[in-house]
Amino acid sequence: MKVTVKSARCKECGLCYSFCPKGAISFSQDTNASGYHPVMVDDEKCIGCGTCYITCPDGVFHVLKSERGVL
């Protein structure tokens, strides 16, 4: 796993969804406590670039550290 998602904070603004260069982000069918559909990250498509972290206004994403050469 390259990115963890704090679903409870997501407000479904879609900025990460729009800016993700690999189209790895989608919206869940479930709702969080605030009534939004939180984002999910497709680990197969994700390259760990951190664009979602940079554009998220609500601190949903945490890009994990990985070993050199291991993606």
């Binding site: 904070r9 603004c13 879609g14 206004p57 890009v63 994990l64 050469g69 993606l71």
Partner: protein, 248 residues
């Protein structure tokens, strides 16, 4: 190779901004810069009134909610009494310009050694999207329902350019949160502004163009596109003044 990216501890909790609001990005950039400069335990935030007041729910740092528009004056007092603390005012455009133009201008005129972060979303966001000094010509707000008529109200203010051209500040820049590239550049501007204060160079200011999707009546991504397509041509991004280490 991914590097670890984690929200700084001092801002790592839920906040009550609207979906797609730029405030969350901007305060995260400030806190990242503070952590990188090793100043996250040495900072005082005079916070303006408006959407910027919502910071109170998430930011764990010494802070003071100032009277509307008066953060420039309050920051002056805090900095003169505590010259070793970093003092960062965090205000919106309605607070810093429309309501508090006197205090904001006078702090810049005196070249106080403070950092001013102004979030420009071209309206008064919290109270329902009224016209502010930065509202664009023709923009519809709840107090200019037919669009802003600049022949009656005057033209949108470009405050960083005013400060850079008329006074002698240490660092003045304008950034934007409208794309990942602009967000990275804005972080660089904020870091230089804080470094200028640490070096006691004088007044430093960064205005950040930020979306207000709810009051603009747009989706968050459309609001970002509005900044890129319509606002940046009037509010150019970049650095306007840089002393580069020269103390005042």
């Amino acid at each position: 190779m991914p590097a670890e990216r984690k929200v700084p501890e001092m801002i790592d909790r839920p906040m009550s901004f609207c979906p797609g609001c730029g405030h969350g990005i901007i305060i995260r950039l400030i806190c990242e810069c503070l952590e990188e400069l090793g100043q996250d335990q040495n900072v005082i935030f005079p916070i303006g009134v408006g959407c910027s007041s919502n910071l109170g729910g998430g930011l764990v740092a010494d802070r003071l909610h100032c009277l509307h528009g008066r953060a420039g004056a309050v920051a002056t007092g805090i900095k003169r009494v505590n010259p070793d603390n970093l003092v960062i005012t965090y205000q919106g455009d309605g607070d810093a310009y429309s309501i508090g133009i006197a205090e904001t201008t006078n702090a810049a005129y005196r070249n106080e050694n403070i950092t001013v972060i102004t979030v420009n979303n071209t309206n008064f966001g919290m109270t329902g999207g009224q016209m502010s000094l930065t509202t664009m010509e023709g923009q519809k707000t709840s107090t200019t329902v037919h669009g802003r008529d600049c022949s009656v109200t005057g033209f949108p203010i470009r405050f960083p350019e005013l400060v850079a051209s008329q006074f002698h500040p240490a660092y003045v820049a304008r950034g934007s949160v409208s794309s990942p590239a602009n967000i990275k550049k804005t972080k660089g501007y904020i870091k230089k502004a804080l470094q200028a204060q640490i070096n006691r160079e004088g007044y430093s200011m960064v205005e950040v163009m930020s979306p207000c999707p709810v009051n603009w009546g747009m989706k968050p991504i459309q609001a970002m596109e509005r900044i890129n397509n319509d606002l940046i041509s009037y509010y150019p991004l970049g650095e306007f003044t840089e002393k580069g280490g020269e103390t005042r």
